[in-house]
Amino acid sequence: DVKVTQSSRYLVKRTGEKVFLECVQDMDHENMFWYRQDPGLGLRLIYFSYDVKMKEKGDIPEGYSVSREKKERFSLILESASTNQTSMYLCASSLLGGGHSPLHFGNGTRLTVT
């Protein structure tokens, strides 16, 4: 079974702090994704990566950056956290891109910015 592990389940940060959300997958998947989940808005893609050191913007990349130095690890970075970034963040991985194979999600990190 694919396991996608997000380092923190809950996180509370102050406005202006730099925040790192970490995600690790154990199935050698090429593709990794960061989504943000808000009530009534579903899952919105922030960034994705289809290979080490490769990244592409999703639909809402503003205020975020990512890092993928190793195949199994994909980090989401909030350069200067703001209250409107309070949300549930979900990491996912897939074997193939382009919607050809299932996404496997982590359990999420609920981030509160005060």
């Binding site: 593709n31 579903g42 899952l43 893609l45 050809h100 359990n107």
Partner: protein, 111 residues
């Protein structure tokens, strides 16, 4: 652009049937369906690919009409365990690798 799901929420009694629809304004290559229970990760249900296919397992099935750029998820004789929020994710015909999700449909099954 996000696909649009309907209805936004539905409440059923155990044993009743449900249909959840997913519509896109773009030509599609694939449609994914996921179910998420409260506090848990979304779980993959099925993928349908271009070609107008229909899939199913147990009492959950789905169809994909690529001409109409729509997919429907069918839950028959619903069980309590079917409760949760259902998301469709659409993959474009060409271009980016990404999957774009709808806003979700909350399904509540009561005994």
């Amino acid at each position: 652009q996000q696909p649009v799901q309907s209805p936004q929420a539905v409440i059923l009694r155990e044993g009743e049937d449900a249909v959840i629809n997913c519509s896109s304004s773009k030509a599609l290559y694939s449609v994914h369906w996921y179910r998420q229970k409260h506090g848990e990760a979304p779980i993959f249900l099925m993928i349908l690919l271009k070609g107008g296919e229909q899939k199913g397992h147990d009492k959950i099935s789905a169809s994909f009409n690529e001409k109409k750029q729509q997919s429907s998820l069918y839950l028959t004789a619903s069980q309590l365990s079917y409760s949760g929020t259902y998301f469709c994710g659409t993959g474009p015909l060409s271009g980016a690798q990404k999957l774009v999700f709808g806003q979700g449909t909350r399904l509540t099954i009561n005994p």
